[in-house]
Symmetry: C2
DNA sequence: TTGAAAGCGCTAACAT
DNA sequence: ATGTTAGCGCTTTCAA
């Protein structure tokens, strides 16, 4: 009957009430060694009666472990990261860990501040989708402090660590090939900043596919902006303003936000997809694809990014698994929801 | 030059290196009282050189404050809560707090476990979207422990506390009226579980609008399931199976997931919106509405739910603001993206 | 302006 | 099987 009107009940209070020492109470709490069943019962009752809740700060201070991990993503409102968070949280909960969440907004500085705060709070480990290659310094600090971490979705030049990333080169290659096979030859790439690993890789896959088809990547058709709607809108707007001779017949949006921005710009220009402009996207768009299921996309196993990353971290924490870093590469899946070139007017050269 | 190869640098180490006492270092860290500029500089240098990072566990234990808050939602992958989380996180970061995140999955038991874990970690306050009215016991425990909390999106029968909720009755009323004014008379309600406050309120608004129009709510047109896609699909499927005489001409989905499920079921049945079936939804669907902008919805100021709730909590923590509980009611906005009855074949009686 | 002592709540390591 | 001691890393007194 947890009636505990008390504010701060300590282990001593419980010990007193149960007529034992604090150590015995501690042993009951931690299920350690053998405690006489009789004693255990008395202690448990005292705990119940006083409404005692162990202070995790105190035990964390002593044990050097907090059963807490940190998770830093660039933007939790990006459906991709939303699902990563969900996956991490599930896995953490199953392992009795709690999760600190933080948004870096692609800012290395904000990210550094977050990491510092979390290290100060003595997290046992960190899951992070690094803001950019400039996150390297921050990660080196994390390593120096002896805090295990796993990179999610993006890795960082110069950092060797456990990581869970998508096959961005392969995915972009497949997506581009899809357009090429449909006869498109002027395919624009609307991408994020090249300082981000995923952006570089997706561009590489795109260029590889073009070259295989004997096409030289055209700088005029490559727009590097940021992973957000406004970037997609502006990029599409720019591409539409190109002279007819160079204007693309297809657009490859390198992420879901960019794709949405492109759709908006196309609609504003009264152009329809895919009749007037073909569009494919890296990353699916969760709910949206159910409502508007006409976009061809490269869908990543989003939740798995979170669950697997968390799993790697926990194995690190418990000392299981190999000591050298492990890199998990998750393969995305091409979802063809419409044929991007069915009504393509221009035929391949 | 933070070269700190050390693992655990304590305040003592810094004190030693700077030739002062630990107290002086502590004072420098906390900017408290006056420290000789000369001394301060020496201390700061020692901190830098050793790569010292204060242990928040120790200071939290002593001060009884951790600069940490908890946030529990039913499902972070629901775009509504995603934005709430984002709003909370932004506000927290601005106030130098970190946020523990947890998903209850509408389970009171999971919620209770989470709350207990967080209280053990001595959060300074809690933001929570309660799983249901049965969360009451858990919240009473939180209160007994003296941990301030703010209810987000849902309140709980029998609990008086700071809260930030939407005008669910009013929103549902307006949305229903919209359909009525377009001539619909057989309007189905696809709702969540009545144990959840928002579901009850949305139903009330719906019924109120019907009654004002002289229509008696028809139990056959009210389906209570859960706030998820599968529920929406099943509900729509059921409604479509009704005899033509009773079958609705419009569906009111009480949340975004339900709306998506309904759309899917309608599409499977080869029915188009709004020609064959009108559809309105409580809650907008972020990215989706950009791609498929043809759904009439009641959009809530989602981010504000988070920022305002966090604000209320922080004012509570700093002792600002009135001591009696404050209830903030946020007004949703009707977004008419298409006319749900423009092509309605049946005219009102 | 600075320091010394005491202790926040818990548990590891050693008794008994 | 249980208890005693000491101390995790910091800050709140109180004193100098």
């Amino acid at each position: 009957m947890t009636d505990g009107q008390h504010d701060k009940v300590t282990i001593q209070d419980v010990a007193l009430r149960a007529g034992v020492s604090a150590m015995t109470v501690s042993r009951v709490l931690n299920n350690s060694v053998r405690v006489a069943p009789e004693t255990r019962k008395r202690v448990e009752q005292a705990i119940e009666e006083l409404g005692y809740l162990p202070n995790a700060l105190a035990s964390g201070l002593l044990k050097g472990r907090t059963s807490t991990i940190g998770l830093i993503v660039s933007d939790i409102s990006n459906p991709f990261f939303t699902m990563v968070v969900r996956g991490v949280e599930d896995t953490a909960q199953r392992n009795s860990y709690t999760v600190f969440i933080g948004n870096s907004d692609e800012s290395v500085e904000k990210e550094r501040q977050y990491v510092t705060a979390l290290l100060g709070k003595r997290i046992d480990g960190l899951l992070i989708a690094p803001a950019s290659d400039a996150s390297r310094e921050t990660l080196e600090m994390v390593r120096r402090r002896g805090c295990p971490f796993v990179l999610v979705d993006r890795d960082v030049a110069g950092i060797t660590a456990d990581s869970v990333i998508g096959d961005n080169v392969g995915g972009a290659y497949t997506l581009t090939r899809h357009l090429l096979e449909l006869g498109h030859t002027r395919i624009a790439l609307v991408n994020g900043q090249p300082s981000v690993r995923t952006a570089r890789d997706r561009r590489r896959g795109y260029e590889k596919a073009l070259l295989e088809y004997g096409l030289e990547p055209d700088p005029a058709l490559i727009v590097e902006t940021g992973y957000h709607r406004a970037g997609g809108q502006q990029a599409a707007h720019h591409l539409l303003s190109l002279p007819a001779a160079v204007r693309p017949t297809a657009i490859f949006a390198c992420n879901n936000f960019l794709a949405v921005g492109v759709v908006e710009a196309l609609r504003a220009a009264q152009l329809s997809i895919p009749e007037d402009m073909a569009l494919v996207s890296f990353d699916d768009i969760e709910l949206a694809s159910a409502l508007h299921p006409f976009l061809t996309v490269m869908a990543q196993p989003v939740r798995s990014f979170g669950t697997i990353a968390a799993q790697l971290l926990f194995e690190r924490l418990t000392g299981e698994g190999p000591s050298q870093p492990r890199q998990v590469i998750l393969t995305p899946e091409l979802i063809v929801r419409h044929s991007c070139g069915a009504r393509l007017r221009q035929q391949p050269a």
